[in-house]
């Protein structure tokens, strides 16, 4: 079995691998975190610890899922708030975990309602032995508007609370961002100005997952009602990647240290987050669906990827895609690529024909007799929707043609 070094340093802390539990139901107590460490996770962000005076009172049931065709958990909705155990229990768990797993990274997630809370919590988790602090500025389902994503959408509050945390502890600290803003950069900047050393992104997206059509109530139903709450899982991955990219490519946030979160369930997802700038990764939804064991394939798969890429240090992959995602106005618009149809592979389902006609430019032509397709280059604009819908991979990128009057050579284009 392949053996590669997956370790990485993040905010001055050494992680044996980048995979961490995110602050959520999956890291709710000592036993869970112990099992996660033993299964091979590099770090744990312990479920957010709140101030003593804020009492957590959860609803039942509290989750929902979005399905598509035969695939469950395309997305997941969660109404659970922060840790429901007492402050003392949580601190005792942190202490015990650090004692028993000194080589694993222990990150304490905290959330206060005011500067005093934040400062105090930072001091307490530092004393308990945490290696790092994550500020939860982003939970979208708190029962107090002085907490969670309402705070995370306000740069001023973020700056103030980050400073408070830094007064309470000198541990490395990251601020966890909410995606429920149009632009994450001002909040990230304010957090760094307040003293944050890095950013964790993204927390969950405010959502209504499904509505019961008979009862006309959102799901899950809590005594006849429901609420908007956080959405996560594979469906939010594209949104998370976009926020990471926007932060990493802002001049003021160059080389920002990021812990990436949002729909990671395979090594490929993990690699994508790393390529847009994440140094560590946090996972919840896929653990809730499949358990801690998923880390085994994420780690092994990532090792094979490093091998294929001839990379010995994970840090060498961080942010490699950032430079290749540029504003739309800067893209090369001088050429088009025609589809190349492999008749051997084609099974004659006609899906490319339907999609091209109804969703593109009526360029795929259909032979009723033979059930084979061909591309009419006069009409084809090279959008390659056909390639995306083909169920057998019979359509690939084919001939490249320069648009009339444009300079450059087709063979120079990177497809």
């Amino acid at each position: 079995m392949i053996k590669k070094d997956l370790s990485i340093d993040f905010l001055g802390v050494h992680f044996e691998n980048p995979f961490c539990l995110s602050s959520s139901p999956v890291g709710n107590c000592y036993d869970m975190c112990k099992k996660a460490y033993e299964t091979g996770w590099g770090g744990v962000v312990f479920k957010t610890i709140g101030p003593k005076h804020f009492v957590i009172d959860e609803v039942s049931p509290r989750f929902d899922k979005l399905d598509k065709e035969g695939t469950p958990f395309v997305g997941f909705k969660n109404m659970e708030q922060i840790a429901e155990h007492s402050l003392e229990e949580n601190l005792a768990d942190l202490k015990r975990l650090k004692e028993e797993f000194p080589d694993k990274v222990l990150i304490a997630s905290i959330m206060g309602t005011n500067e005093q809370d934040w400062e105090e919590l930072a001091r307490l988790v530092d004393e308990a032995g945490a290696d790092m602090i994550e500020m939860n500025l982003s939970c979208p389902q708190m029962t107090s508007h002085a907490m969670g994503s309402d705070v995370g959408a306000n740069p001023e509050l973020c700056r103030k609370y980050c400073a408070a945390v830094k007064r309470g502890s000198s541990l490395p600290m990251m601020a966890k961002m909410t995606p429920n803003v149009t632009d994450m950069v001002p909040v990230a900047l304010a957090s760094l100005e307040g003293g944050a050393d890095g950013i964790a992104a993204i927390n969950t997206v405010k959502s209504i997952c499904n509505i019961d059509l008979d009862k006309k109530i959102g799901l899950p139903i809590v005594n006849g009602k429901s609420s908007i709450s956080g959405y996560s899982g594979k469906a939010v991955k594209p949104i998370a990647l976009r926020f990471l990219q926007q932060m990493r490519t802002d001049e003021r946030l160059k080389d920002l240290a990021i812990s990436g979160i949002g729909g990671i369930e395979t090594w490929e997802d993990a690699a994508e987050f790393i390529l847009v700038g994440a140094s560590t990764l946090q996972v919840t939804t896929s653990i809730m669906q499949y358990g801690y064991r998923i880390v085994e394939d994420m780690k092994n798969g990532l090792m094979h990827y490093m091998e294929e890429q001839h990379v010995d240090h994970l840090k060498d992959l961080v942010g490699l895609a950032n430079q290749n995602i540029i504003p739309a106005e800067e893209l090369d618009r001088d050429y088009k690529v025609y589809p190349e149809i492999d008749e051997e592979k084609c099974i004659g389902c006609g899906r490319c024909y339907i999609s091209c006609y109804d969703g593109a430019h009526q360029a795929i032509e259909w032979n009723e007799e033979t059930r084979k397709v061909s591309c009419n280059k006069e009409k084809c604009v090279g959008c390659l929707l056909c390639r995306l819908v083909c169920p057998v991979g019979a359509i690939s990128k084919g001939e490249v043609e320069m648009k009339p009057g444009r300079s450059g050579k087709p063979e120079d284009k990177v497809l």
């Binding site: 399905d67 065709e69 035969g70 469950p72 099974i347 024909y353 259909w366 059930r371």
Partner: protein, 410 residues
């Protein structure tokens, strides 16, 4: 796994698993499956409805075309029709169209949908002789066109071969009941236990009705001369009916020889296994490469431990000992059994119906007989003898009647 004759062998899909199967469908343009159904069922359309979670719409698509949607879903040899045409074969295996159709029709039943509607009464009446699949479909089509329909069935219960021939584990009685009750709800009157030619004459029917449609099917069993009057021998038709009527509660000897290689022979052999018979040996005239039974039925029988010996023809019988010879290579096979079941085909019993039947079929194409008032459909009409073809012929015969005697009564 203990076999239970009274329990459907194949498990139906759940909401979750049917979505997984529907997701495999490529949703083809001009779907080849839809062009391949003899009865005109449109899987391309109803599977798309399932894919987009419109289960009621899927049920409408199936039912409006086929009054025996739930039955075809269970007994149609789809491997020869829609599933053979399925584009997915180019990737791995076809979509389980029969299974999805079964889910859809089970959904229809559970939702209590009444999809078929009777047309405005046109004052004309049709009598149907027999109540098998072609009769039921013809009744549904005629009722939708506004005809009054009376069905005469010589057996105690309606359904024909569906009721008395296909084993319970493949087609439960309650599914047949449901399909029949739909037709009854539409207004068909069933007269069971009435043999036309005995309890009521053809002339009487012709007098009372505008048209008579004969859908008497193959109710008789073929035999081979050497097996006649042998107490060890029973025909498949008689055996299957006996088992079904008694819902599996019959005692059978422990060493049974089946002769025949069609779907009926497979049903007999498989039923014997369901009844706990230890040694079931089926000797078949055809060799495997030319086998008549559907692949599914053949594999099903073999999976249950039926010994199938292909390529042999019976030469002589001595009590319960049968000697076979191989059709192509020199060689003999001698088998002694406690019981012999002959599954060598069925035949029409139409003596009292005044039909000119040659080789178990009428000697003309189409459905109208030389008597302009009398029509024929089902197995007696020319063409394939499967349930799906019975549905097609039922529809076509109804349309033929409508063309000849159609329109409101003056």
């Amino acid at each position: 796994m203990a076999l239970n004759y009274k329990e459907e062998l194949e498990k139906g899909y759940t909401m979750r698993t049917v979505m997984e199967e529907a997701e495999r469908c490529l949703l083809c343009h001009d779907a080849p499956c839809s062009a391949a159904c003899p009865a005109g069922t449109d899987p391309g359309s109803f599977i798309r409805s399932v894919r987009f979670r419109n289960f009621k719409g899927a049920a409408e698509t199936v039912r409006e075309n086929n009054a025996l949607g739930s039955i075809c879903a269970r007994v149609c040899p789809t491997e020869k029709y829609c599933q053979m045409a399925c584009s997915r074969c180019g990737i791995d295996r076809p979509i389980d169209i029969g299974g999805i159709q079964r889910f859809v029709t089970d959904f229809e039943e559970a939702a209590g949908m009444d999809i078929l509607k009777a047309g405005t009464a046109n004052g004309r009446k049709v009598a149907i002789v027999g109540s098998g699949p072609s009769a039921i479909q013809a009744a549904a089509t005629l009722l939708s066109l506004g005809y009054a329909v009376d069905i005469y069935e010589k057996q105690e219960k309606a359904g024909g071969y569906l009721r008395y021939g296909i084993p319970e584990y493949r087609l439960p009685d309650k599914v047949v009941d449901c399909e029949i009750s739909r037709i009854e709800k539409l207004g068909a009157k069933f007269h069971c236990g009435m043999t036309v030619g005995k309890d009521i004459t053809m002339d009487a029917l012709k007098k009372e009705f505008d048209a008579v449609l004969i859908a008497a099917g193959f109710s008789g069993a073929k035999t081979l001369p050497m097996f006649e009057n042998n107490p060890c021998v029973e025909t498949a038709v008689s055996f299957l009916a006996r088992v079904k009527e008694n819902q599996g509660n019959i005692s059978v000897e422990n060493n049974v020889l089946v002769i025949g290689g069609g779907d009926v022979a497979m049903d007999v052999a498989t039923t014997l296994k369901f009844l706990g018979v230890e040694h079931v040996t089926d000797v078949v005239y055809e060799e495997f490469k030319e086998f008549l039974a559907s692949d599914k039925e053949l594999k099903g029988a073999q999976a249950l431990g039926v010994s199938i010996i292909d390529g042999y023809v019976p030469e002589k019988v001595d009590g319960s000992e049968v000697t076979f010879s191989h059709r192509r290579i020199p060689g003999e096979l001698k088998l002694k059994a406690d019981k012999i079941i002959l599954a060598v085909g069925q035949k029409a019993e139409t003596a009292e119906l005044g039909l000119d039947v040659v080789n178990n079929e009428v000697n003309f194409d189409g459905y109208q007989t030389t008597d302009p008032q009398v029509f024929v459909t089902g197995d007696l009409a020319r063409g394939d003898k499967t349930v799906v073809w019975a549905v097609r012929k039922g529809k076509e015969a109804a349309e033929a009647i409508h063309q000849v005697i159609g329109g409101a009564k003056a």
